[in-house]
């Protein structure tokens, strides 16, 4: 691999501790999950701002919202299904409807827990949180963006959901500049636009090189904010290329692909091909096998785009 690989949990923990030095209201809520989320340094430094509630995610969201009512900025990080699907109604009402300044991090999203299967896959988290009005959804592309997104999230006033896989993630971008709500054109192109989110994007960047070798000039857009979605960049790409492919380590339904399709349906209608995880309960197994099966590998993305462009 040509990129330096970094520990996402370490970045989450470090940025939280750094921001906590600046903002005394930042606190950490844990469901037996924080010490394993790189929060060790924070806990050591600010034991009185660390709230362990044990394995009870509904309560953790409620307690977080309650802390926020008093002006605190709680950060709650645990595996993605357990901070979204499990306590969904608490997320919807206590965080969303009450519009509280709570920061929820769904870690080990996608197929990170490939050995544990559907109970632990994080494949519906974007879909669920997108249904809750006025919650920002972030899905950083690489280690630099994760660092930037963490800082932006902790400085933003309002509810945020950040999703990240926590296997080692590549450092692709040099600086950690991060603006909520903005997509980034990573590569200019005219034949097709590939819009991608999360750390699976590294495969898209490599696929774009293969496509170029095959004579396809693909535009690549990194979309580290899913909500609010950057409508402008999508419409521009649709106008310019006339064909859009979306790539995400999430169900094909409800995630980035849906968000992009909705923008196209509303503002500029072009064919959209969604590459993601099919709506089924996939077996556990090696991570690479799952990624291959869903055509999220470099080869899978390349093939799918070639077929789509040839249509």
């Amino acid at each position: 691999m040509k990129y330096e690989m970094m520990d996402a949990k370490k970045i989450i923990g470090e940025t939280t501790a750094e921001e906590a030095d600046l903002n005394p209201n930042i606190c950490v809520v844990s469901t037996d999950s924080a010490p394993r989320t790189g929060m060790g340094k924070f806990i050591e430094k600010y034991p009185n701002r660390y709230y362990e509630v044990g394995i009870m995610e509904q309560a953790a969201i409620g307690v977080s919202a309650g802390l926020a009512v008093t002006g605190k900025v709680p950060v709650f990080c645990a595996p993605a299904p357990f901070v979204t699907a499990r306590p969904f109604e608490m997320f919807k009402i206590d965080v969303g409807y009450m519009h509280q300044n709570v920061k929820v991090i769904g870690r080990n999203c996608g197929f990170n827990y490939s050995d544990l299967g559907p109970t632990h896959y994080g494949l519906e988290d974007i879909a669920l949180v997108r249904l809750i009005p006025d919650v920002v959804i972030l899905a950083p592309i690489d280690a630099s963006q994760l660092r930037g997104a963490m800082k932006a999230m902790l400085r933003y006033e309002g509810p945020v959901y950040l999703r990240i896989g926590t296997a080692p993630i590549p450092k692709i971008f040099n600086d950690d500049e991060f603006e909520i709500g903005k997509g980034i054109v990573v590569r200019e192109g005219k034949d097709v636009a590939i819009i991608t989110t999360g750390e699976i994007s590294v495969n898209v960047f490599e696929a774009a090189d293969k496509l170029a070798a095959a004579g396809i000039d693909a535009m690549v857009i990194a979309m580290p904010t899913i909500a609010p979605i950057d409508e402008e960049i999508i419409v521009k790409a649709a106008e310019l290329t006339g064909k859009i492919v979306t790539v995400e380590e999430h169900f094909e339904v409800g995630g980035l692909g849906s968000a992009v399709s909705e923008v196209c349906a509303k503002s500029f209608q072009v064919p959209v091909k969604r590459i993601g995880v099919p709506q089924t309960y996939l077996s556990s197994g090696p991570y690479e096998d799952l990624v291959d099966y869903c055509k999220l590998s470099v080869e899978g993305i390349t093939e799918t785009v070639l077929e789509f462009v040839a249509k």
Partner: protein, 280 residues
């Protein structure tokens, strides 16, 4: 507390019940039974037990009140209006689209509302977070919550029961509005959580049982807070659903009331008579 002051609270509770009727009249119907069963407690809290200021509803050291059973919202609106948190004319918009007194409380619409309740089993966990935050700030603020007895079937309450005891939240005070009735019948028949007090005691709470429509007993319980240092406080308030309107008391079909003119007139008359007696 002096007898006179208790009488004043009783009169205030009756005026708050009048405010509830005002809302039901404006809308044509409403949750009379639940509002009437807890309104004496809500009155005692805002007019006696809590550090709150209608002129400065967001002051940092205030006590917090959460109506976990949000369908009793009319009780809170009635008391907030009586206390001067907002103009009583707002009560007349009850039931209208975009009303500031919606079916369930909305913190963004009215001063004095601290949470968006209505879905059951949310209040206690929110209250734990608020109690932790207030404690971290070093204010002596208390957090008061009213839950329904039927509401205790929501498992999230028992998550909060553990958290409150674990964190020794003696600034948390929960009244269970124990009127014994829920939509399908008697709570003990639908899903029993009896004996409520000993379940909470098992988690490590300090508990007390009172008659929840008896102003003397409510005030006495408030005066004894915290019941035990380092333990969250649980008060099983044995209440009468619909208390304050003879035809509604303990009647499950008055949970949601769609009154005839004659019934409304009777309800109003009973309150007037009561007020005349207590103010005499």
């Amino acid at each position: 507390m002096k007898v006179n002051d208790i009488n004043k609270l009783k009169a205030t509770a009756a005026k708050c019940r009048q405010n509830v009727l005002r809302m039901i009249k404006a809308n044509g119907s409403g949750h009379l039974g639940p509002a009437y069963s807890c309104i004496d407690i809500v009155t005692a809290l805002y007019f006696y037990g809590m550090n709150v200021d209608p002129q400065d509803p967001s002051k940092a050291d205030r006590d917090i009140f959460l109506l976990s059973a949000g369908h009793k919202g009319m009780a809170q609106y009635a008391v907030l209006a009586e206390a001067g948190f907002f103009d009583k004319s707002i009560l007349d918009t009850f039931g209208q689209f975009k009303s500031r007194v919606p079916g369930h409380p909305d913190m963004h619409k009215l001063p004095g509302i601290e949470a968006n309740t209505g879905s059951l089993g949310h209040g206690l966990n929110l209250a734990c977070g608020i109690a932790l935050g207030k404690r971290q700030d070093g204010y002596g603020s208390k957090v008061f919550v009213i839950t329904g007895d039927g509401e205790l079937a929501e498992g999230s309450n028992w998550e909060a029961a553990a958290i409150a005891a674990h964190y020794k939240l003696d600034n948390l005070v929960v009244f269970v509005d124990h009127n014994g009735l829920q939509i399908s019948g008697q709570t003990k028949d639908v899903m029993s959580f009896e004996p409520i007090a000993s379940h909470f005691a098992g988690f490590g709470w300090a508990t007390k049982e009172i008659r929840g429509n008896d102003m003397d007993e409510i005030v006495a319980a408030i005066d004894q807070l915290p019941f035990e240092k380092g333990k969250p406080n649980l008060i099983v308030a044995n209440t009468i659903k619909g208390c304050g309107f003879s035809k509604a008391e303990n009647q499950v079909n008055y949970h949601y009331w769609n009154p005839s003119e004659a019934d409304m007139a009777l309800a109003e008359k009973e309150l007037e008579d009561y007020l005349a007696g207590v103010q005499a």
